[in-house]
Amino acid sequence: MLTLLKNGKIYDPARGKDGVIQDIYIRDGRIVNKPSDTEKISRTYDLAGKVVMAGAIDMHSHIGGGKINIARMMLPEFQETRKYSEPEAHICTPNCSHDATPNTTDTGFRYIEMGYTAAFEPAIMPINARQAHLEMADTPMIDKGGYAMLGSDDYFLRMLAAKKDQKSINDYVAWILHATQAIGIKVVNPGGISAFKFNQRKLDLDENHSYYHISPREILKSLSTAVHELGIAKPLHVHCNNLGAAGNFETTLNTMGASDGLPMHLTHIQFHSYGTEGDKKFSSAAAQISEALNKNKHITADVGQILFGQTVTASGDSMMQHLNAKHANPKKSVIMDIECDAGCGVVPFKYRDQNYVNALQWAIGLEIFLSAEDPWRIFLTTDHPNGAPFTSYPHLIRLLMDKSFRNEAFAKLNLDAQAMSNLTSIDREYSLYEIAIMTRAGAANLVGLHDRGHLGVGGGADITVYTDQLDREAMFSKPDYVFKDGELVVKDGKVVKVTWGATHTAKPAFDISVEKDLKDYFDKYHTIQLDNFKISDDEISNDGRGSVIVHENKQPSH
């Protein structure tokens, strides 16, 4: 079956196409060359005047696994927020959603309705990976995948403390990717989750873990090297030390140097860009962070923008979340130590535009977005649901694309916060082409999805069609059409066909003899068998809906 998307205005940064009128042909879920004139076209969509982009890719969104399920259990009242019709904050708009903990079905539906065709769970705890994949398997419509969390797991920390060679570390990291069916590796508060179990309450980049006597810097060096040498596309995903703490920008700046120039991705960098200036000892360090980001070409970052209203923060960072729990709203939280593997902290938050700190957090995120010179190295996220639910993306896109809308919102903020931000002095407005880079081409590049995020021949036909509107929020809230693997799945912002998507993974080669020591470790110290730690392809595909896609390595660099 051949489908023709005719006369659309193409925004395809991967192919350098910036609003070019062009036809797209789809066959068997793929974008194909123009067929011969004799071939019958089954369906033609006339897209004259419409904006056509690849399906959007959320490279950091907490959509699967224990933390979010704990949040759902703890916060049944959140399910009611789906019914809210009144804006939650002064600058909310009708398209702002406060559904912070959607069930898996709603997660898939809300994503595809906005034209997103893939989302990546950034914090799969290896021991909890089975649950993450169960939840992602029950998330319809979109492709998914995840990053496995390492760096506070005792197996790795023991290796590092024992000064095991890099090859052994690499084998373990690769083994984890296989066992957890992940596509990347994440480190959260390097060493800090473990240190908290030893009653350490803070861990700086060059401070030693009290038991292992190794520093976060050493952890970052070891893991970024492993990821690089294994040759997977996704750079090490780094949630820095000192999340949310005033003055943490210095840790963030120093972290950029911890990999000796090897690629690293600093996630939700907004939460790590705080200074200590002013009466309230809390200020924007967006300028310093942006300058460093622009200069350090080996660093990529996603913003983790906050937007106002009720949400919940769910993080592997038990150390910092325990500290943040005093700000919980409503006043409850879950903090867990988990399996000598990691931990988690789930703390509900209500970001208020009249609160000094929250208002400044909002401005800091936007300052970082607007100061980033290279849209290929910055990514659009709210760290769903930590900064705001992912359903707020259209609102965020309008803030980036529409200066007067942004300045009107800014004028409604806490006045002390306004005085501490230079946001209104920034004139930049993102273009459609730049939005397509951040949410499509760049994200696909970063994660290593070579056949997604672009509209070139051979690509998977994940395609979103919008009506070009001045109100960018309205435009990005409700695409005219979304095609998933060539099938029309959304029409006028509503799902017309339910599909299930695939799971993207990376499985670099490794020395299987790593399992010998692992088995001994599991037998002695763990409470499950090594074999049960591993998730087989069958577990993902057996229900007849899911499938596993393995992405090719980049060439190993060693």
Partner: protein, 441 residues
Amino acid sequence: MWQNCTSMKITSSPTQPTTLTCPACGLLCDDVLLTTASPVAVKVACAKSVTFFEQTYSADNPSFGIPSVAGQTTDLNTAIKAATDILRKSNQPLFAGLGTEVQGMRSLMRLAEKTGATLDHMHSEGTVRNTLALQNSGWQTTTLTEVKNRADVILAIGTDIVSSHPRFFEKLVWNTESLFNKPVPEVIYLAAPLNASGENTQAGISPAGTQPMVIPAATEQLPEIINALNALANGKNLNIDNIAGVALSSLQTILEKLKAAQYAVVVWSASNLKFAHAELTVQSITQLIAKLNETNRVAGLPLNSGDGDTSVNNTSTWLSGYPTRNRFTNVKSGGKPEYDAYYFSTKQQLENCDALLWVSTFNAHQPPPDTGAPTIVIGHPNMQFTRAPDVFIPVGIPALDHTGTMFRLDSAVALPLKKLRDSNLPSLSQVTQKILDILSC
């Protein structure tokens, strides 16, 4: 030596005996060894586990595995059709029991969405006490591998632990190897329930013979006792000698031990707290833990009750947004989930429902409650009834007759269940799907 491992299949090496994952309690031990497959025999297993795996065809039950309608034996298709007819006529069905694992619960959720059912688990009285505490103030908890490697003080409140989770001490407390060379843990029992021979605290005697600290008290007195502990932890003076018969000095000792520990673990079993508003006692325990964590490391470990309660609760939560005691309304427009921890209980809904679907796949001895409503039982093939349900559909037992997925008591770990034998029994998911197919016709 470098091989390109593109997939790691879970297979057991033929030279080693097969290990099984045991669903008989929330510990989900996966080191149980299968010695023979037919009939199933196991070792490295507790009595509960042996009973579970070695339950087989019962010679004295001629109706083993045979479906029935109105007490008369019939074939599977007839029974499924009869069950479908009951559900089709029902406006307000109750799905209760829910003794199943993740895959079974997934299928039941689909059926509940289609039929507008209310969902409640057979052991939810205990679960809900924890859930309410979680929803009121949250908690700070830990998981089994942390206990095994870190816990140097174990405080068991209102439970002996081993009655419900037999290998707890063997596997997690008296282990000789641990990651951080911790000392042999100190064990404290507070208000352990009595059995015929006193408290069942033998499991808390260390291999070297060190006796646990045992503080007897009636379980119903725990609200006062825990509140007193909290008061002491907050530096309050209590001008009394004892609380509910427990010497204040004993409570002081508990507190000192918790504070002196590197990593203390407080264990409770909500299903044992059988008194009004026990959720407040759970909350009091979690507040004590929170207070101590201001300066020390202490973590809670809530035990579960079994029959897949943790699996069912997790699955329900990600699929509907709510833990159990939930329901689907507006069936025609796709099914909208609702939640009410009180009103959607089996007890309340038995008075309102016009059909009961009772599920118990692990356990032959969990019969449905009495109700005037038409009753369908999908259950263990060895279930026998004093009063025959309108429809009985025997299904395979997860971890014996078919594969499955199960959550451990700490919710952090989910493990695959294996299939050990070929039976002609359908799985719960297959039966449920068949009902859904007929309903969709």
